[in-house]
Amino acid sequence: MLCLLSAEGYKLKKSKSFFISAVVMTLVVVLMYGMLLLLDGVVKGEIENGTAGVIVTQEDRQDLDEFESGSVWEQIGIMDIMRQVFSGNLASCVLAVYVSIVVVSEYSSGMIKNIVGKGNSRTAIFMSKSIMAVLSSLLLLLISCAMVLAFGMIFIGKSAFAGGFLQNLMLYIGIQMLLNAALAALYVLIAEVARSYAAGISASIGAAVFPTLLFTGLDVISEKYGFTLSSYWVVTRSESCPLSGITADFVLETVLVSAVWFLISVGLGIWHFNKTDVK
């Protein structure tokens, strides 16, 4: 198992898809800040309303007037941008593409044939790939978080880090990491079953989006029985995670939800990989 993890680590070091995904995540963060900068300019009358599609309505202006300086940066904090990274389907889509490429490339290149049947158990092979795909996915998310913080420091300043910010941030990121680890494990399962780039990527994105809609719809029924079904789906839970005032119950429930989805995904993946021929 250790030798397999060492090989996976070496591949990650040489992986273009990891670095490209990291650049994409960074660019999106930059784009978010860029849009806010543009918005701030429009509000202050420095840039014409409607530039680059940024339109500020009278209602928006009234909301901003409540603040002393009338600056967008006073209404939007770092945590709001952090939420956009995790809850705006950005993270789930980038991870879906990244994990699918990493897993499917084993089959498309044929590299898997050099490893299966050479003394390592199939369970160990699948586990090593899952572990590395999940860890590298989390690393991608951490890079995004670092970018949000770095640009936040530049645009908002030190005031953004005041009060209980750091505690809320750590808790929020911790919860998102847990939920996204489970999601990445699910993507590994989908890519292992699909074994083709197109099918793997589209099915993974579908898996992130469609259950959210389905479970939210089913909430109408489940709420009659006293529970919200969608809160047990990792993507919905990630979107609904509060930015502050996170309770111990919410944390515990999140740990359980993540663990269950993670174990189901890895378990099914191991079962499928063990029973299926390698072509």
Binding site: K113, N114, K279
Partner: protein
């Protein structure tokens, strides 16, 4: 006889199709076993089962005489279908990934393999820029990384130019002679295969129809006078006593193959008839290896 690979009724079924049908193969230690069959005959599926990439639907096998296949497969190197390599990585990186995956501690093995396969100068070049021959050689380098005792190579000379084919051929002969590596190799280039193989197995529609050695193949393809007679013992006596012919055999009752005096077949026929032999048929036979293989594979283009 010591066998490196021995299968017993090995079968693979996909849906309703029996892709490999009760194949009982015997690969002798130290041999180069040429595995011959048309496209879709079941060669690759059989090799994938032997390599542990696919599970058999029925049948059994032993590797190095043992049924503990997981353990014994550590002594096998494989190149099945295309070389399993990352095109975006260099040759050295590809070998490094496999070295680590297989838990090989000697880092020098990577350089050693690049050297054996004449890829030392291309170690830093990305594989996507490699020629077909270089990719095949890298595939063989990967399969040799753990110093195997048995190599399973599926079409390793596919798509290579004559120079590339010769390189691979020389490499395989060297590995077989110098390192005593047993090789199971499939190829469509039958003439090429006949230059290295010591044993052959013919697979047709999933079934192994015949296994024979290179010596037997030579005999079968040798130019001869085929005689169909009523009493083969009488004919044999005439050949030896009247014509002084000793280089002949009796493959089947009533059938003789004469391998000498082939420039005077009329005289042989005349003497046989004069001595009371009922001669039903007499003709010169013999074909090139490729023609013989094609005949075995069920192709009507075999030359006589």
């Amino acid at each position: 006889m010591e066998y490196v690979l021995q299968t017993n009724g090995l079968t693979k079924i996909y849906g309703r199709a029996k892709v490999v049908n009760e194949v009982s193969m015997h690969v002798k230690k130290g041999s180069i076993y040429g595995f011959i069959g048309k496209n879709g005959a079941g060669k690759t599926t059989f090799m994938r089962m032997a390599a542990g990439l696919a599970a058999p639907s029925a049948g059994s096998m032993t590797i190095f005489g043992s049924s503990d296949l997981e353990k014994q497969r550590m002594r096998i190197g494989t190149l099945i279908e295309n070389p399993g390599i990352y095109p975006g990585m260099t040759a050295r990186d590809n070998l490094e990934v496999v070295r680590r995956s297989l838990g090989i501690t000697e880092k020098s093995r990577v350089d050693e393999m690049l050297s054996i396969t004449s890829l030392s100068n291309a170690g830093k070049k990305k594989v996507k820029n490699f020629s077909m021959g270089m990719k095949q050689r890298l595939g063989i380098a990967v399969s040799l990384l753990r110093n195997p005792d048995f190599l399973i190579l599926d079409e390793p000379i596919n798509g290579l130019d004559p120079a590339g084919i010769k390189e691979i051929r020389d490499l395989l002969i060297k590995l077989n002679h110098e390192k005593q590596i047993t090789i199971l190799i499939s190829s469509h280039i039958l003439g090429e295969l006949s230059k290295i193989a010591t044993d052959y197995g013919i697979i047709r529609e999933g079934a192994l129809i015949e296994e024979f050695g290179a010596g037997e193949l030579e005999t079968r393809c040798r130019r001869c006078l085929k005689l169909s007679v009523e009493h083969e013992h009488l004919a044999a006596g005439v050949l030896e006593e009247q014509l002084g012919i000793h280089n002949y055999d009796v493959p089947n009752p009533g059938e003789l193959r004469v391998f000498e005096h082939l420039d005077d077949t009329a005289e042989i026929n005349r003497v046989l008839i004069q001595n009371g032999v009922t001669l039903r048929e007499s003709y010169l036979a013999g074909q090139d290896l490729e023609g013989y293989f094609m005949q075995l594979l069920g192709n009507s283009t075999g030359k006589n």
